[in-house]
């Protein structure tokens, strides 16, 4: 009798589980470049908001309307109105050597030298804004791992009280340590490789760059980041970034970043077949 009951209950329970919306599709892409599938939008609308904990910033975040630049406010992408602090002589030299494909100093891409054009690592902070893509925060007791959709790459923010390494060899994504000041996570980072650009306009930085980011999580669905860049070798005074606002992508736990690798062989094929011929010679026209 008991076996018979079980044999009825188990298929019924399995049917319930398998037919629930959560199992209809086990993962959803986040908003990326402003777009999300209809299925993901429906799942997000039906998903419960997570409980609010100001110290829990885990999840996938996307920043609709954020700047792609260090400074704010900005205008259109191709005519930004940022006001960086004056460059030093060294900074000016670096800036002139950079040949971006957007903004007031844009050149045809084939004549440019944007690291993006060859799938070089974008580094930080540029990958925070790259191509209007989301990022994910994975929080563990001793560190936070920030994964960027573009390049499917990551950086670590150590929160176990350790100090940043002294005079480290530079890295694409630097060395970052964080601590909580009340409900604000303060992240200090140094040790950046100066081959990376700050943004799509080609603003430079040196290996001496110190970034301080303040992460604030005012409600369950919102994450705010404010950044200050201090790099006396490149800028005559610190550069205060504007507040960037990011939105939690629901369903939390079932939203997965796209595997948006920049594949060098594919990039080269694109450059040769499309990018370079499309722009060739237009600078002289």
């Amino acid at each position: 009798m008991r076996n018979r009951l079980l044999s009825m209950v188990i298929p019924f329970a399995a049917g319930l589980v398998l037919s629930s919306p959560a199992f209809a599709q086990v993962y959803y892409g986040p908003s990326s470049q402003g777009k999300r599938t209809k299925e993901a939008e429906a799942a997000a609308a039906a998903a419960p908001k997570p409980a609010y904990d100001p110290h829990d910033i885990s999840g996938v975040w996307w920043g609709r309307g954020n700047s792609f630049f260090m400074g704010k406010p900005v205008g259109r992408y191709d005519s930004p109105t940022i006001s960086p602090p004056p460059l030093t002589a060294w900074g000016e030299e670096q800036f002139k050597a950079h040949k971006p494909s957007s903004g007031p100093h844009a050149v045809e891409p084939a004549l440019g030298n944007d690291p993006l054009g060859h799938c070089d690592p974008l580094g930080y902070p540029r990958n925070l804004w790259a191509n209007d893509r989301p990022f994910e925060m994975i929080q563990t007791p001793g560190k936070i791992v920030q994964i960027f959709e573009w390049g499917h790459t990551s950086r670590e923010i150590w929160t176990d009280g350790r100090k940043p390494p002294k005079d480290p060899d530079p890295r694409w994504y630097g060395w970052a340590v964080g601590h909580w000041e009340g409900d604000t996570l303060v992240v200090d980072s140094t040790g950046y490789d100066e081959r990376t650009w700050l943004d799509n306009l080609g603003y430079p930085h040196s290996e001496g760059m110190h970034l301080q980011e303040r992460f604030h999580h005012p409600d369950a669905m919102t994450l705010e980041i404010t950044m200050t860049l201090d790099d006396p070798k490149t800028y005559v005074k610190p550069w205060m970034g504007g507040k960037e606002t990011y939105h939690l992508q629901l369903p939390k736990g079932a939203t997965v970043l796209e595997e948006a690798y920049c594949v060098p062989s594919e990039e080269e094929s694109f450059n040769q077949g499309v990018r370079d011929p499309a722009g060739k010679g237009i600078s002289s026209k």
């Binding site: 892409g29 990326s32 470049q33 402003g34 777009k35 999300r36 599938t37 209809k38 309307g65 792609f68 259109r76 992408y77 191709d78 494909s101 957007s102 844009a106 050149v107 045809e108 891409p109 440019g112 993006l116 054009g117 191509n131 209007d132 893509r133 959709e149 799509n200 796209e258 948006a260 690798y261 920049c262 594949v263 594919e266 990039e267 094929s269 694109f270 077949g273 499309v274 990018r275 011929p277 499309a278 722009g279 060739k280 010679g281 237009i282 026209k285």
Partner: protein, 146 residues
């Protein structure tokens, strides 16, 4: 009247906001004449579902039998996926030898390259972008900037 005007401005601003970040990637805004729209009938030679932009290569034969090798800069795989397309589905739809009518914005250089708006196959199936950004078929259809 005022509402209609505000609506038009809203649409234009919306398109600017949505399209500007996408256009700038890899210099798209620099390299193409986004105010000009052209349509071409051809045959697919290759489709690449790849970052930073997917690509459609196709041959166009003129009345005299001359063949021009065209390339179209499409949107990134993530955008195509978000529109409901899949890599497998597009590879099948855009298999080499498929007849296709491609609409887009031509290169400023004069090279046979365009930014993809849409591709319509012989059976009427359309690979379209349904809102702004690179290859905005609405902009092409309503003639804005032509």
């Amino acid at each position: 009247m005022r509402t209609k005007f505000v609506g038009c401005i809203g649409v234009i601003l919306g398109l600017m906001i949505v399209s500007s970040p996408l256009m700038a990637h890899h210099g798209t805004g620099v390299s193409y004449d986004m105010k000009k729209v052209i349509g071409l009938k051809g045959v697919v030679t290759r489709f690449a579902f790849a970052n930073p932009h997917s690509q459609l290569y196709f041959d166009v034969t003129d009345d005299k039998g001359n063949v021009a090798h065209w390339a179209a800069e499409m949107r990134a795989p993530g955008n195509l996926l978000a529109e409901g397309y899949t890599r497998r589905g597009l590879m099948e739809k855009l298999a080499p030898g498929t007849a296709v009518t491609v609409t887009g914005n031509p290169s400023k250089s004069g090279a046979p390259v365009l930014v993809f708006s849409k591709a319509v196959l012989g059976d009427g199936y359309c690979i379209c972008n349904h809102d702004g950004g690179i290859g905005n078929d609405k902009a092409a259809d309503d003639g804005t900037g032509q």
